[in-house]
Symmetry: C2
Subunit: 207 residues, 2 copies
């Protein structure tokens, strides 16, 4: 099982496509964020989806109607998954889940930096489970919080950012309960990104 989600935090069209092609066989999914979509439009998600599962890391945080529109456009462009905030409440989360269809919804329940939702993590996990999300986003650099979230989230898939540049350790995060670790900079900044991914996969025991 491949446990790496590659955070494609580059903004140039050609570089994005080229990295996606190169790494697609050795990562579980490719995560894209707003800056890439700002530069290239949402259609770039469809293009990357020819090579890999694409997770749209849009950290959706609006009212229900806008959440629905954002989610629909990601789905229409063949995104495999989408990341939404959950602090916005049940009504907003429901809108994302409902519009997602077969697309996987990952609900963010704790950030990789301190924030004002830190006291609500338990409530957000419970609500997210009740609303049948596919997975959760939990911080790979705040291991105690990640472990706690794992303990209460059944068989939901957990994806963990905060690895590498933000200080989290890749094996620590997996041992604390992450199913997938999100890694960007340490891959795309490497002179040989594919070699880097393969070495990380070895650390994770992936063949």
């Amino acid at each position: 099982m491949n446990r790496i989600i590659f955070a494609l935090d580059v903004y140039d069209y050609n570089e994005a496509l080229s990295l996606s092609r190169e790494l697609s066989n050795d990562v579980f999914a490719i995560k894209v964020n707003w800056p890439l979509v700002m530069n290239n439009g949402i259609s770039i998600v469809k293009e990357i989806s020819r090579y890999s599962n694409v997770i749209c890391d849009f950290k959706i945080a609006d009212i229900d109607n806008t959440n629905r529109l954002i989610t629909e456009k990601a789905r229409e462009n063949n995104a495999w998954g989408i990341i939404t905030h959950s602090f916005t409440g049940r009504r907003s989360l429901k809108a994302v889940v409902s519009a997602a269809g077969d697309m996987k919804v990952f609900s963010l329940v704790s950030m990789s930096q301190e924030s004002f939702i830190d006291n609500y993590t338990d409530d957000l996990v419970k609500m997210s489970m009740e609303e049948n999300v596919y997975g959760l986003v939990a911080p790979g650099n705040r291991i105690d919080i990640l472990r706690h979230i794992r303990s209460m989230s059944g068989d939901l898939k957990i994806i963990a950012p905060g690895i590498g540049a933000q200080g989290g350790g890749i094996t620590d995060a997996i041992m604390a309960g992450a199913d997938y670790v999100i890694i960007g900079r340490s891959i795309y900044s490497d002179p040989e990104p594919l070699k880097k991914v393969k070495s990380l996969n070895e650390i994770l025991g992936d063949d």
Copy 2:
């Protein structure tokens, strides 16, 4: 003084530009949201900025580095203002303010729907003031909350969504302390949008 911010919640390029041209002289600013940018790329902000102040309603809700990148791209495309969440904490908010330069930062301190930040409104207002934002986003359909936010936010500009389709009254919001009201559907769904804007301006006492 014109008090209407037009929420340009349409997604077609030509319709968006045509509405912007038509209404620009009679609204204070035009607010764009993610779905329009998903369809057309961020360059559409630059195009609309030829007609009007543009506020990017991106409800930014990520870690500092990503917040910075999103803000920079909005600024590079001549946005006049940008809306960011503040629950993400001081570090994330600082990143937006710092990257914004002359662009106005509006910090969202309470949503137009119930959410898990409702207990933190006071903290978010205080932090936003300390971080020198230009204005706040406060709910025009939750009048008591809006009034409370007005009472503690000095001379910060308050912009209020939730008017019309979400139940808020336009004059109620102004009387409760909003400097500008955000109105979308009831304008662009009207068969004569310009006439509608002019009639709303009359209600608001604008010449």
